[in-house]
């Protein structure tokens, strides 16, 4: 195999090749290593970069957290909620079990419970020193309760609330403001309306007008009460002694509230400035107000004790077409036009025949007032065990989910102006009602005077006195003037008693 002798040159070549090979062989791993090393470095750099980023982020986060914590600790801290039970006197239709359940879930550990409104129970609870934390009432009750120190001053809560902003409160809430029971309208805030209604607006059944050959009154400008009277006479339909259709429907329980609105429109009042005097007898303007109602009843143009409602109250009688006009306000739209979820409304041929017209004017020259005379709402008890929890419920009920539900329901004008767009207008009837309503709201800022020395709400003292003598006067047992004299005497005594108790 090796027959040829290896020369020195060949040996050198081979050595050179071997050496080169060895060098090459030796060099090869270094290159690979270098490449690997370089790659590793890059990866390492990347990792480091990631790590650095992480570290930096962590540090930044730490710093930010520190700063935020610092800011938080320096800012005033909301108190930790302690478990509290809040009792609210409200009808089930105005505060549903589902809403209560939702509140109790969302606002834990606060717990809300509901009681049916009941004056006897309320008085008893007050006497026991354990009144409901939130009490449902109407505006005429506010001065009397304020005079006795019952409600909690909610002004500080309103001032800081992000839900119930003072600027957003509808004018009807002014019935819950006041610095004294004698001066309601501005000042401290004691409560607010759950919803409200320009109560003097009138519902008109166009079909009854049409059948009587009359043109229904316009819905874009107010008529006068004289015109209402005239319409009521013409629209009353009789058969022998029977009344088939009454021209007008009136809520007799509100009678003195109407008089007060009419009198205030001409700069007068049923009460003296300090509420110590009842100004009916001898007050020509006030007597005229009472006479307006009395004459309508005397002529059977309106339901009265001698010609009572067949269904117990004017609401269903209007729906059935047995009353041509009904002075009940916007809240009644819930019954007349129904709501999104209810089928109620005008019955039979009367369906779609009802329109709402503006509150009439007592005289052409008087101020135009289309305010609420009920302003149903709530106050919080001054001796509530946990004012913060009570406010939490109050704020939720009047400005959050339940308030939204009520606004969309169409049974009342929301207590917050920002909720007005939610008032329903899903059909033509609703659109007409809303159009009239939005115009009425412009004249709704008037706060009617209610006497703190007399029982307000339902039943109210003046209304009770009127009711007692009404039937007897209609039957001729008294003259109208004697009836006025009797009411005057009775209310004089009641005011004196109220003053003795309060002052």
């Amino acid at each position: 195999m090796f027959a040829k002798k290896l020369s020195r040159r060949d040996l050198l070549k081979l050595s050179a090749i071997g050496a080169a090979g060895t060098v090459l062989a030796a060099c090869q791993p270094q290159v690979v290593e270098k490449i690997v090393k370089e790659t590793v470095v890059v990866e390492k750099e990347k990792q480091v970069q990631v790590e650095v980023t992480k570290v930096v982020e962590k540090e930044v986060q730490k710093e930010v957290t520190k700063v935020v914590e610092k800011v938080i600790t320096q800012a005033p801290q909301p108190k930790a909620k302690a478990a509290s039970e809040v009792a609210m006197m409200m009808w089930g239709g105005e505060l549903s079990d589902d809403e209560i359940k939702q509140y109790n879930t969302d606002h834990a550990p606060y717990k809300l419970s509901r009681l049916d409104p009941d004056q006897v129970r309320y008085f008893a609870m007050l006497a026991a020193g354990n009144p409901p934390d939130i009490y449902r009432l109407q505006a005429p009750e506010v001065p009397g309760l304020l005079a006795r120190g019952i409600p909690l001053d909610l002004t500080p809560y309103f001032e800081t609330s992000m839900v119930l902003k003072i600027d957003d409160l509808a004018a009807a809430n002014n019935f819950y403001k006041g610095n004294s029971p004698l001066d309601i309208g501005t000042g401290k805030i004691w409560g607010m309306v759950k919803d409200w209604s320009p109560d003097c607006t009138i519902w008109v059944n166009k079909l009854v007008f049409q059948k009587a050959g009359l043109t229904p009154p316009p819905d874009d400008k107010p008529i006068t009460y004289d015109q209402v009277f005239e319409f009521a006479q013409k629209l009353t339909k009789k058969e022998g002694d029977r009344i088939l259709i009454w021209g007008l429907g009136v809520e007799w329980g509100w009678v003195e509230r109407f008089w007060e609105v009419w009198l205030e429109a001409i700069g007068k009042s049923l009460f003296s400035n300090d509420f110590s005097k009842f100004q009916l007898q001898g007050n020509e303007d006030a007597v005229k107000c009472a006479k307006w109602h009395f004459d309508l009843a005397k002529n059977n143009n309106v339901q009265n004790p001698l010609s009572p409602s067949p269904r117990g109250w004017i609401g269903p009688d209007f729906l059935a077409g047995q009353i041509a006009m009904c002075q009940y306000g916007f809240w009644y739209s819930g019954m007349v036009t129904g709501t999104a979820n209810t089928e109620t409304g005008m019955e039979g041929e009367n369906k779609g025949q009802a329109i709402m017209i503006p509150a009439p004017l007592w005289t052409d020259k008087g101020k135009r007032i289309s305010t609420t005379i009920t302003a149903t709402g709530s106050i919080c008890s001054r001796i509530t065990k946990d004012p913060d929890a009570t406010w939490d419920v109050f704020q939720w009920y009047n400005g959050q989910e339940p308030a939204v539900t009520r606004a969309k329901g169409g049974w009342g004008v929301p207590g917050l102006k920002s909720f007005y767009p939610m008032i329903p207008e899903y059909n033509e009837e609703r659109k007409q009602v809303k159009r009239v309503l939005m115009e009425e709201i412009k004249n709704s800022e008037w706060v009617v005077r209610f006497n703190p020395f007399l029982k307000g709400g339902e039943p109210a003292a003046v209304g009770a006195s009127w009711a007692t003598y009404f039937e007897r006067t209609l039957k001729g047992e008294f003259s109208f003037e004697q009836m006025i004299g009797n009411i005057q005497k009775e209310i004089d005594v009641a005011i004196k008693e109220g003053m003795d108790r309060i002052l």
Binding site: A127, E239, R242, W252, S307, P308, P310, E471, R501
Partner: protein, 323 residues
Amino acid sequence: MATAEVAVAQPERTARHIAPRVVRRTVAFYAFVAPWLICFVALDIIPIVLGVLTSMTDYDGLNLATVKWMGLKNYARAFTDSDVAYSFGRSVLWSAINTPTWIVLSFTLALILNQAVKGRDFFRTLYYLPSVVPVVAVARIWAIFLDTNNGLLNGILSLFRPGTAVRWLSDYALPACTAISVWGGLGGGMIIFLAGLQGIPQELEEAALIDGANKLRVFRHITIPLMTPLIFFQLIMALITSLQTFALPMIVYGGGAMTGGVARAVYLYVINTYRHIFAFQRFGYGTALLWLMSIVIMGLTLVVFRTARYWVYYESEAAGGAA
């Protein structure tokens, strides 16, 4: 000496051995009566005392902190209040008409349905039915029936004289409300009388018939005397209930009644009181009025009890007398 020792030792032994038993019995007694006693004191005695105290103040439901002592002024005021006198008179009249009418009619109905007539069970159920209807429903049904303009009764009358609109609930308020009240309570009265009639021993009636008495004499001399304890009970209950009548007129006259707007003929005492309390916030005066009515009711009950010896027949007394 021995006698003296015994005499001294005996009480010690008695105290040592008997006292625990007496204590146990006493504790047991009080433990058993305690629930009733506590409830009686908490739910009767305390409210009665508070009620009496309230009637002597100017309490208006809200002025507990500033309430003033009035002494007997509230009571004195009641005697000068013309509405109190009028409403009391109406309540007495209401009671005087309502009580005998109800007793006579329910007793008559019980007598009829105690006979072996065809469909007896059906009629017993039918007549009892109004008693299970709540007073609110009874009042509303009748208010609709008697309504001036749309009532069924005037509707029927209009068939003969078109346009008839008799004001039943105004011009005839007292008889109309009495009819409603009696109709609603007839079934309850009937059932009690029926139970009494069924408790009369058959042999007494049979013996009388054998002796030649006719049905009328049996009724007069056997049925009536044996029923007098029940009539007495019904009379007492009816008197108390009718003098306290409140809900029926309030519901018949709807929302207006809350403010005293019931027909004047049925402006009863408790309605007047309600008006004072809830429309004028005269809790003190209203409570005094209620106490006065309680006194009247107690007095009347006492009078009826006193007369009982002359007309109520108790078998046990008769048997005792005979012995």
